[in-house]
Structures are given as structure tokens and as C-alpha cells.
């Protein structure tokens, strides 16, 4: 298992866990480490059990990942909170 943020472009992996820390977001109280980010993940279709593919990663910056038919741009901080298992 490793964080999604460490995958290289082109790699595919299965989402194992969204590392939900203690509730911190006041608006919707999503259990995200950074406000909203993790509750949004579910909205955008990224959930435990889904297969994700890293399309591009801009150095230390954001990642572009593909989940089902959607492409999601996420900051590396968010990507480091998503545990995944590499797929062949």
C-alpha cells in the first residue's frame, strides 16, 4: 500500500483507504484533513474500491487522475491522503 501521490504517470491502482482524520470541516463536517477536499472526492466518484489511473503529475504539484470516466485534478497534499494498492 502506498499513497496515490507517489504513483508515477501511467500507473494504475485500487483505492484502499481515504485517510479520514478527525472532523475538521465546519461547513459540512466532512471528515477531511483539509476542509472539504475529502468529502468532495466521493462526490467526484473517487471511493474505496475504485480503480484510479495517474495521467500526469506536474513535478511536486498537482496530479491528474482518471476515475471511471472522470478526470480529476488534485493537489499532492490530497493525493497523499489516499492509500492505494498498485495494479499491474
Amino acid at each position: 500500500m502506498l499513497p496515490l501521490g507517489l504513483l508515477a504517470p501511467g500507473e494504475r491502482a485500487e483505492v484502499v483507504e481515504l485517510m479520514l482524520e478527525k472532523p475538521s470541516c465546519q461547513h459540512c463536517r466532512c471528515p477531511g484533513a483539509s476542509p472539504h477536499s475529502l468529502c468532495r472526492l466521493g462526490d467526484l466518484g473517487l471511493r474505496v474500491g475504485k480503480t484510479v489511473e495517474v495521467l500526469n503529475a506536474s513535478g511536486a504539484g498537482a496530479l491528474l487522475v482518471k476515475v471511471d470516466e472522470a478526470r480529476i485534478a488534485m493537489n499532492r497534499g490530497v493525493a497523499m491522503k489516499i492509500k492505494v494498492r498498485r495494479k499491474a
Binding site: R29, D43, G45, G61, I72
Partner: protein, 643 residues
């Protein structure tokens, strides 16, 4: 009472396109998630019946987070809509159905528009619409909004659904959740739902789901109920080992997966499409920036070349006409000042100087917006935004700012934190809007060349960057990470591009142009009676400081009304359209930089005080004025060194 149809869907599903088809062009259509932040209402007459259509901001779920989403949720929960028209992007059906399930629980007549069927086809997703309709208990209409396909049928179906009172099926969760709902239902009083105007079951589920707004509402009216609700939340949480909102949202997700698998077949194509290859380049950590630079350069070159050619052509005639007028009417008569310097130059100055740059600029911007390239730019710029301590999402107001500062300020509603909204609004109004771009093109690009204009834009970004850094130090806050959907590339439709450009151009014609003409008349009168001298004298400290000719003073005052006005006025104040003959390169640059940064225009100040309060708007005026002074001085010294 006319039938009220509310369009609701996830961001970028094509709601606005559908709404516009029904209502004429009213809402903004962009290939950028989250451009609708306010709801738009329109009256439509359909088959002899008056119908009210409402376009609501896109939401991912009814658990609202930012103010724009809250607006949609409040509208729906208030029970205003007779028919809920749920627009779905068929190419992301699985995910989109979650919102549908939530909407169904509002127990209102509902219709589902399966939009973007063309894109679903391309991605190899086949959807059995009749079966979906049967499973949900709501009519389903496949559409391709961009091509206008299926939309008449959609409206027909929606109207009918309203008359017949279609009821969606009730969404059933798994047994243990249903048990909790039943128990909570026994403990609470159904009147509570009636008081709030909500369906009973909807309220129960939302309370179990720990919805902060409804919980607060119920807690305010019936404080005694809170412990009971908390208790049931706890039971749910303990039996699943997860928080109650996650239990229920996972449940909803599981239901949608089942529905999706029952109605859709996916056969993805194996080889990468050109879109995927293009995306690889557009978001690449090196090639992405190269492409960005190419696109920007192309954009500037095209806008500038087109603008310059047209301007040269038109200004020649304008000058001749002015001279002719002088000969006919006599150069020092009041009629000459009023008719030629005031009216004529006001009317045709707009046409000859503003239009040539404004039109290609607006069309170009609309093309970029509709192609879907801008979200890729947001992706590339995320690093930069974080360096500034800003949310990745704040790129949207900045990008809109290149069109006009007013929508840019309004779009800060998509930001969750008030601090972000303040900082981003204050910074976004510094982005050169189309009016200021016209000034940059007509003065700097015209006299010094297009690369200098590009330089002005980059300098502007640099200044905003530095200010962003400073504001992060003054108002520290951890900015949440970027998380944004990147939409598909779409071939911009000429229809939409032209409509959108026309829409912005119309704003210039009906709002700015009359002001330009009136301003031009006022200035000609001031000049005739020699009052302009007093204004200029009063502004002498400013103009002297910046090393600009005295006559420029009045133009700066007029520029606060509309930024284009400074440009037109400049011609008039200096008495020529050939400005580079009168002003040195350094002066031109200083003038442009000063006008670029100083006091936002009147409409923007109004928008700022609406969104942030008049104190903050005042702050924006003071800060920008100070900033413009400092930068103007810097440019003056820079000019002295370089030219």
C-alpha cells in the same frame, strides 16, 4: 400561477445550455465547472402555457459546502419548484445518479435529462433509458443539448410531469438503516417536517446523516429532540464503524452502482484517443507550459493583428472627418466642440478604437473557454496558486477577470472561506479586464509592439503574485488543496461562441458606450469653457509625479466610470488619435500601468460592495490607488532607463 421548472445537476452537465435553449440567451455557458453561481430565472411560453424556468448553480450533492451550492439547495428545499428537471452528464452516469437519488427523496415531480449522449456514445457507454426510467419512477429523456437534440421533448415531458404530478419511487436503504429511520420516525413528530416544508422521510434521513443546517434548524425549534437524533446517529455509526454521514452516502453510492450496472453497458475503446494524447501534452510538467505559452502568444498576436489593422483603417477616416468638421464649423465654435469633439468622437471613437480590439478579444476568450482548455491551465497553475497561499479553485475568478471584473467578483462565491473570498476578489479586480486589455492593445501594443503588451500582462501577474504572498502573510490560513474535475475537450460551437461574445459586447454597447458618449460630451464642454484646466490643475501633483502631460488628468477621472473612457478621452484631451506622436514610449507605458491598476471601475466597485461590503470595497479603492501610484512611479523610472 405558472408552472415552475428548476434545472439542477452536477457542475458542467449542460444545464445552462438547456436553459438557454428554452429561454433565449440568458445564462453563461462555459466548459468550466462552476460558472453558474447565481440562479437565473426566465419566463417561457410553451404550447400556449406560461412556464418559469430556473437555472440553479451546479451541485454535486444536497450536502452543500460553498455559498453557490447553498443557493441551489435552499431553493430546492424551499419547495419552490413544481418540477425538478435533473440534468445528468450521461458520460458520468454512475456518479451523477447519487444526486438524482437525493433529489428523488424530495418527493416532487421530477424529470431526468440524460444529456451529453454524444459523449457517452464516444466513451462506449450505452444506456437503457426506458429501464432507468422504470427503476427510478421518473421520465428519462436522452438529449444532446449542444446540438439542441431532444430538448423540445424534454420540455414537453417536464410540463407534463408537472401537470400529472409524477412521483419518483422511494429510495430504500438496507435493512439496518431503514430500521433506524423507522425508529427515529417513531420518536419525532412529523409536524417538524411540515414546519420546515420538507418531506418527512427526507428530513429523517438528513438528520441521521448529520446535516448541519437542518440539525441546527430542528435544534432551534425543538432542542429536546437533539439528544434523540444524536443517539440514533451513534447507533448507526457504531454498527458500521463509520460516521453516520459516510454510512448513508456509501449506501447511496452502493444503490447507484446497482442502478448503473443494471442500465448501462460500458465498452471502452482500447487505443488512446486524440483527446487523451492532447491532454497528456496539455497537462505535462514541461510540454504543458510550452503549449500554454504558444496558445497565449497566438491569442495575443491574432487579437492584436486584427485589432491594429482595423483600427488603422477606421482611425484614418475618423481623423479626416474631424478635420472636415473643423473646416465646416470653424475650429473654435461651440457647435464644433459639441458635435465633432463631443458627440462624433464619442460615438465613433468607440467604434474605431474599442471595437477592433474588443471583438477579437471576446471571441478568442469565448473560444478558449468553450474548448475546455482553461481548466487545464488551472491545473498547471495550481502550484503557483499555492505559492500564493490561495486555493486552487481561486483560479476561476482570475480567469473570468480577463473578461470582466464583475463576474470575477461574483464568482468568488465558489470559495468556501470568507478570507479567500476577500483576498481573491481584491486581487482578481487587478486582472486586466477586456476594457483594460483594449487600452493595453491600443496603446502599448500599437506603439511598442505586441510583446510589450504581453510583458504588461506578465508584469500584472507578477504584481498580483507578490500581493498574494503578502496577503497570505497578513491573513494566514491553510488553503485546502485543489480538487477539481477536468471536463472533456469540446469543439466550441459557433453558435455559443458568437452568442457569448455578443452578450459581452452588448454590455459594452448599452452600458459603456452611452457613458463614453456622455463623457466625451462633458469633456468637450469642459474644454470649450476652459474648465478642464481646473481639473487638470487639481490633478497636477499626480500627473507631474508620473511624468505625464497635464491634459491627461481629466481622462483619469473619467476612467473611473468606465476604463475604456480613459482611452477615448486621451485622444480627445490630447487632440489627436495619433497618441504616440504626443506621448513618449515611457509616458505611454506609465499611463497604461497606472490605468491598469488604479481604482476599479464603477460597476466593479458596486459588485465588490455587494459581495464583500462597502468597507472592503473602499479598501479595494484605496489599495489599488496606492498600488497604481507606486507602480506608475516604478514604470516611469524604468522608462527613463530603457527608452
Amino acid at each position: 400561477m405558472s408552472l415552475k421548472i428548476a434545472l439542477i445537476g452536477q457542475p458542467n452537465c449542460g444545464k445552462s445550455t438547456i436553459f438557454n435553449y428554452f429561454s433565449g440567451y440568458k445564462a453563461m455557458v462555459s466548459n468550466f465547472p462552476g460558472t453558474t453561481v447565481k440562479y437565473t430565472v426566465s419566463q417561457v411560453v410553451f404550447q400556449g402555457e406560461e412556464i418559469t424556468c430556473v437555472d440553479l448553480p451546479g451541485v454535486y450533492s444536497l450536502t452543500s459546502t460553498d455559498p453557490a451550492e447553498l443557493e441551489s439547495r435552499n431553493y430546492l428545499l424551499a419547495g419552490e419548484a413544481d418540477v425538478i428537471l435533473n440534468v445528468i452528464d450521461a458520460s458520468t452516469l454512475g456518479r451523477s445518479l447519487e444526486l438524482t437519488l437525493e433529489l428523488m427523496s424530495l418527493e416532487r415531480p421530477m424529470v431526468l435529462a440524460l444529456n451529453m449522449m454524444d459523449e457517452a456514445d464516444r466513451k462506449g457507454i450505452r444506456i437503457d433509458a426506458p429501464k432507468l426510467s422504470e427503476m427510478l419512477g421518473v421520465p428519462v429523456v436522452p438529449t444532446v443539448a449542444a446540438a439542441g437534440r431532444g430538448l423540445t421533448e424534454l420540455l414537453e415531458t417536464a410540463v407534463q410531469a408537472g401537470h400529472v404530478g409524477v412521483r419518483p419511487v422511494q429510495v430504500m436503504f438496507s435493512r439496518d438503516i431503514e430500521e433506524e429511520i423507522a425508529e427515529l420516525s417513531d420518536r419525532l413528530d412529523p409536524d417538524q417536517a411540515r414546519e420546515l416544508g420538507l418531506p418527512w422521510r427526507f428530513l429523517l434521513v438528513k438528520l441521521l446523516e448529520d446535516d448541519p443546517h437542518l440539525l441546527a434548524e430542528v435544534g432551534r425549534r425543538h432542542p429536546g429532540c437533539l439528544p434523540i437524533i444524536r443517539n440514533h446517529q451513534k447507533i448507526l455509526a457504531e454498527s458500521h464503524g463509520r460516521s453516520p454521514e459516510i454510512v448513508i452516502s456509501s449506501e447511496r453510492h452502493a444503490l447507484t452502482v446497482n442502478i448503473f450496472e443494471a442500465v448501462a453497458k460500458v465498452t471502452p475503446s482500447q487505443k488512446p484517443t486524440w483527446r487523451e494524447r492532447l491532454d497528456w501534452i496539455a497537462t505535462h510538467k514541461f510540454w504543458g507550459y510550452v503549449l500554454l505559452l504558444l496558445v497565449l502568444t497566438l491569442f495575443f498576436q491574432v487579437v492584436f493583428r486584427l485589432g491594429q489593422t482595423t483600427e488603422n483603417f477606421l482611425v484614418g477616416y475618423l481623423d479626416q472627418a474631424q478635420k472636415l468638421g473643423g473646416v465646416w464649423l470653424g475650429k473654435d465654435t461651440l457647435t464644433y466642440y459639441l458635435l465633432v469633439e463631443g458627440l462624433f468622437m464619442g460615438i465613433f471613437g468607440g467604434v474605431a478604437i474599442v471595437f477592433p480590439y474588443l471583438v477579437p478579444f471576446l471571441v478568442g476568450l469565448a473560444l478558449l473557454e468553450d474548448s475546455g482548455y482553461l481548466p487545464r491551465v488551472a491545473f498547471l497553475m495550481d502550484n503557483l496558486m499555492h505559492l500564493l497561499g490561495l486555493h486552487g479553485k481561486s483560479i476561476i475568478p482570475f480567469i473570468l477577470g480577463y473578461g470582466c471584473s464583475v463576474p470575477a467578483v461574483i464568482s468568488t462565491r465558489i470559495l468556501e472561506s470568507p478570507r479567500d473570498r476577500l483576498v481573491v476578489s481584491l486581487l482578481a479586480v487587478l486582472i486586466p479586464c477586456s476594457a483594460r486589455s483594449v487600452i493595453i492593445f491600443a496603446l502599448v501594443a500599437y506603439a511598442l509592439g505586441p510583446y510589450w503588451a504581453l510583458g504588461v500582462y506578465l508584469f500584472n501577474l507578477l504584481v498580483i503574485g507578490i500581493l498574494g504572498r503578502i496577503s497570505t502573510m497578513l491573513l494566514p490560513e491553510v488553503s485546502p488543496g485543489l480538487l477539481m474535475e477536468i471536463p472533456e475537450y469540446r469543439k466550441p460551437t459557433w453558435h455559443n461562441v458568437l452568442r457569448k461574445s455578443w452578450y459581452s459586447l452588448k454590455d459594452f454597447i448599452v452600458v459603456a458606450w452611452p457613458i463614453l458618449i456622455a463623457g466625451s460630451l462633458v469633456l468637450s464642454l469642459l474644454k470649450f469653457y476652459g474648465f478642464d484646466g481646473h481639473v487638470n490643475d487639481a490633478l497636477r501633483p499626480l500627473t507631474a509625479l508620473l511624468g505625464l502631460p497635464l491634459q491627461v488628468g481629466t481622462t483619469l477621472i473619467f476612467g473611473i466610470m468606465r476604463k475604456e473612457l480613459s482611452l477615448i478621452m486621451l485622444n480627445e484631451a490630447l487632440g489627436t488619435t495619433n497618441i504616440s506622436a504626443v506621448l513618449s514610449h515611457a509616458q505611454l507605458l506609465t499611463f497604461t500601468i497606472f490605468v491598469l491598476f488604479y481604482v476599479p471601475c464603477a460597476s466593479t466597485i458596486a459588485a465588490l460592495s455587494r459581495e464583500l461590503g462597502w468597507k472592503q470595497a473602499g479598501l479595494a479603492v484605496v489599495i489599488s490607488l496606492g498600488l497604481a501610484l507606486v507602480l506608475g512611479l516604478l514604470t516611469r523610472s524604468f522608462g527613463a532607463l530603457v527608452f
